[in-house]
């Protein structure tokens, strides 16, 4: 019998929801399961309500889903808010110290410091480790993997803490085992090749490091910060210069300075911070300085819902910056795709000497997926520098493909003159309007080569299906599963996912969507921004828009429900 369980761990911010979820999810992956996690939190540090959902199955997962099979509640609010989602045969595991009312007729398991670690000062460790253990117990998974993880995590805190964790986890496991579940993970065995559990932003960080990143700079902003963190944690080891900027304007200009000097440079932010970077975006384009910028979306306008997810910044990254200039826009759908796109972004930025934008969002950035090592191959680093040292050197020499030989200051003789004003080939500012025409055309010409290297369509479902669901970025998973379920239910359907949005791969998209009898666009914004772009670029437009703008990610259920009317 197929395994597909949703475990929801909820509590107040600061209570230890992550302390429970992270080792638990890893333990399940090590056990051999496929796991996907999602974080849901508010813009506050303590209190409020936050939860993680761990979906675990015996087959590959690309998306979360609705419903709860095991509910771990660290406070009453979690019970109140989520008991409705609990499956009939589900189980509630709760912290007896904070949960006083348990809904009637629900199977439940109470945990408390004193039953788990009597006579110790273990504090929240008891229930945290105990709950993780209890979940494994319920699922008939041995506790060893978990205790090992906890030991690694808490090694720094001394042997007593490690022992507390082990004891509590083990005791929890015993209590859990006692409760029979219809579906368990007992039958699952670990694969020969261990699997990875990695989030979108962690994967982008890896792609950047593997891609030869040498400089990263930014200003904290949710949800971009998790990517900035992931690189910074590894920076010392890989000789990457990390600087926290005084503001986003400084961040992009510092990155441009570092890139002009020759370092592969990355900056990033979220919507509001990106607005402040847009003047610098044009500077990178005009000076033809390679740069990769990550824009991690959250619901706007303005501050909006800072810790939620959204896809409302597509138009922003497509059109920001004054005047016409070339740029590339990528939007990965999975961590592994993100890893590859980051490496590609760094190469495209260098080879075409322009800014490359990567659109992510809170859901993509924070959710962890199960992947395998081969999905993260070694990547080539294409610097595309001109090493011969002719002088005088012309930074903006006119060329057929619009790309001028690039040299670095200090690489040899020949001066590298870069200018934000319109300039002559040697980089000096000019008022010669015929040169202006040539330079504007030269810069735009780079798109002709660039678009040849883009496509980035991912297909799923029934090829000739009359119903096509198109999507971009982080909604790949939910749409993929919705399409799978439709086909299983006898409604032929197809997914077309776009991960490379600009320069718009017109031919490929027209080919993929032109034939669709019923074209449905799934987008996490109010106005249907990809739909607008699609019509502008191809004349095609969706027959139906499935939009979500409440700050939550798409789920297969949400999509199927919306389709009811029309499919």
């Amino acid at each position: 019998m197929a395994v597909d369980l949703n475990i929801l761990i909820g509590g107040a911010a600061g209570q230890g929801v992550h302390a429970i979820s992270l080792p638990l999810a890893k333990a399940l992956v090590r056990h051999g399961c496929q796991v996907i996690t999602r974080q849901d939190y508010q813009s506050r540090i303590r209190g409020g309500h936050l939860f993680n959902v761990i979906r675990v199955a015996d087959r590959p997962l690309l998306s979360g889903r609705e419903g709860v099979d095991l509910l771990v509640a660290l406070n009453q609010e979690t019970v109140t808010l989520h008991q409705g989602e609990l499956a009939p045969d589900g189980v509630l595991i709760y912290d007896a110290a904070h949960v006083k009312e348990v809904p009637a007729g629900v199977r439940s398991l109470a945990l408390s410091h004193d039953t788990l670690l009597p006579g110790t000062q273990a504090g929240e460790i008891a229930v945290n480790a105990g709950a993780s253990g209890a979940v494994l117990g319920l699922l008939q998974v041995p506790v060893a993997g978990l205790t090992q993880l906890l030991a690694d995590t808490f090694a720094g805190k001394g042997p007593e803490v490690v022992e507390w964790n082990e004891k509590a986890a083990t005791r929890g496991q015993e209590l859990g085992e006692a409760i029979p579940l219809a579906v368990t993970l007992a039958g699952i065995t670990a694969p020969p090749e261990p699997r990875l559990l990695i989030s979108g932003h962690e994967a982008l960080a890896l792609g950047a490091l593997a891609g030869g990143l040498k400089f990263i700079c930014g200003y904290p902003m949710t949800p971009w910060t998790s990517l900035f963190n992931a690189v910074s944690q590894r920076a010392a080891e890989w000789q990457v210069v990390v600087e926290q900027a005084e503001d986003e304007i400084a961040a992009i200009n510092m990155a441009i300075g570092a890139s002009y000097a020759g370092a592969r440079a990355l900056t990033g932010t979220s919507g509001g911070g990106f607005c402040l970077m847009t003047e610098g975006l044009g500077l990178a384009a005009m000076t033809e300085t390679p740069l990769v910028i990550v824009v991690a979306m959250r619901p706007g306008p303005s501050t909006g819902l800072p810790t939620r997810t959204d896809q409302g910044d597509l138009n922003l990254v497509l059109y920001s910056g004054q005047g016409d200039f070339p740029r590339a826009v990528l939007a990965p759908g999975t961590p592994a795709q993100g890893y590859l796109l980051m490496a590609k972004a760094l190469n495209l930025a260098d080879r075409y000497q322009l800014p490359v934008l990567i659109l992510t969002d809170q859901y993509f950035g924070d959710s962890q997926l199960t992947h395998t090592a081969p999905e993260f191959p070694e990547v080539a680093v294409e610097r595309a520098l001109s090493l011969e040292t002719t002088t005088p050197y012309e930074r903006y020499a006119l060329t057929p493909d619009g790309v001028s030989p690039r040299r670095l200051p200090g690489m040899g003789p020949g001066l590298v003159v870069a200018d934000s004003d319109e300039h002559t080939p040697d980089g000096h500012l000019t008022e010669d309007l015929s040169v202006r025409i040539q330079m504007q055309a030269k810069r735009q010409r780079k798109l002709e080569g660039l678009v040849q290297e883009l496509g980035g369509l991912t297909f799923a479902g029934a090829e000739e299906a009359p119903l096509t669901l198109a999507c971009w970025g982080s909604s790949l998973g939910p749409v993929h599963e919705a399409v799978t379920r439709l086909n299983q239910a006898g409604t032929p359907a197809r997914m077309v996912h776009l991960s490379e949005l600009w320069p718009f791969p017109r031919e490929a998209v027209a080919r993929a969507l032109g034939s669709a009898q019923k074209l449905v666009l799934v987008e996490g914004n109010y106005t249907g921004q990809l739909n607008g772009l699609l019509r502008q670029e191809t004349g095609l437009q969706a027959h139906h828009l499935i939009r979500r703008y409440d700050g939550l990610p798409f789920t297969p259920e949400y999509i199927l429900k919306d389709l009811k009317g029309i499919a």
């Binding site: 890896l206 400089f215 590894r234 510092m254 441009i256 570092a258 520098l385 200051p409 200018d419 500012l429």
Partner: protein
């Protein structure tokens, strides 16, 4: 001593008599005397009359956008330790649009020389008041005159322990040249503000006006630029008497010393990128 014509570049678009000319001359002389070749220095600027400076000088040039001179220079310095890095900015550029970066630069202390061309006016945009315009300065946007006092730029620097703070005057070329030389050889952030008459739009702070007021701070009996309180007083002095020369000095480690040193060769051809297997190890 290198030949001065080594630094000749395109023809300038400044007004005849502009204070930028003697500054350019003094700067070239400083480079020549220090034997810094064009390919050994990068000059970063923003937008303004003063920001055209690097175009009129043979050097590696990054002429960026208004107000963002220092971030570009800092990013450059963090990954390149070999070139001299000079940031050139107008008073509007550095103290107006770019004020926040100036505060950060004082804290960071990167090994960069910042030269502000302080003409107390927005020159390129035709004469509006700048943060250093004297109270009462009139323009088309301020017909009644600026209602508040100017920014105290040098005091700002001293208060943040800027490691080298000085003031020069375009009308004193030899003295200015020596300040350039000292700034260029100082290790850490050197902040040189130069009084630069704008003969077209600033009819108040003219060569004459400055000449009547400037004096050499070094001539103050046993003046000690490492005495913070004394430096603060001199930094704040403006109006009847305006001190020139090195106002303040404080020994501090340069920003980049806290970071891994990247070599130009390794930037150009990254020999080794992290093996993916190592990177993935954290995620099993």
């Amino acid at each position: 001593m290198l030949p001065l014509d080594l630094y000749d570049s395109i023809e300038s678009a400044w007004c005849p008599g502009c204070g930028n000319f003697p500054m350019l001359k003094a700067f070239k002389e400083a480079l020549a005397e220090l034997e810094i070749r064009p390919e050994e220095i990068v000059v970063v600027s923003g937008i303004g009359q003063s920001s055209k400076f690097p175009h009129y000088l043979k050097c590696h040039t990054f002429n960026g956008i208004h107000g963002r001179t220092l971030p570009v220079a800092t990013g450059f310095r963090l990954v390149n330790r070999d070139l001299k890095v000079v940031a050139v900015a107008g008073d509007g550029d550095c103290y107006g649009e770019g004020g926040n970066h100036l505060l950060a630069a004082f804290r960071r202390n990167p090994d960069i020389t910042l030269v502000t061309h302080n003409n107390q006016v927005y020159g390129l945009t035709k004469g509006q008041a700048s943060p250093t315009s004297d109270q009462g300065f009139k323009s088309l946007i301020q017909p009644q005159g600026v209602p508040y006092p100017p920014l105290h730029t040098l005091a700002l620097a001293v208060a943040q322990d800027c490691s080298w703070v000085a003031r020069g005057f375009a009308g004193e070329g030899e003295h200015l040249k020596n300040l350039y030389k000292e700034a260029l050889t100082h290790k850490g952030f050197s902040f040189l503000e130069v009084l630069q008459p704008c003969v077209t739009f600033n009819k108040i702070n003219t060569y004459k006006w400055y000449r009547q007021r400037v004096y050499r701070v070094a001539e103050t009996p046993d003046y000690d630029p490492e005495n913070e309180l004394w430096a603060y007083q001199k930094a704040k002095e403006w109006g009847e008497r305006i001190p020139l020369g090195v106002i303040y000095r404080k020994v501090r480690p340069a920003l980049e010393e806290a970071y891994p040193r990247l070599e130009i060769k390794s930037l150009a051809r990254p020999e080794s990128t992290p093996p993916v297997s190592r990177l993935l190890a954290d995620f099993y």
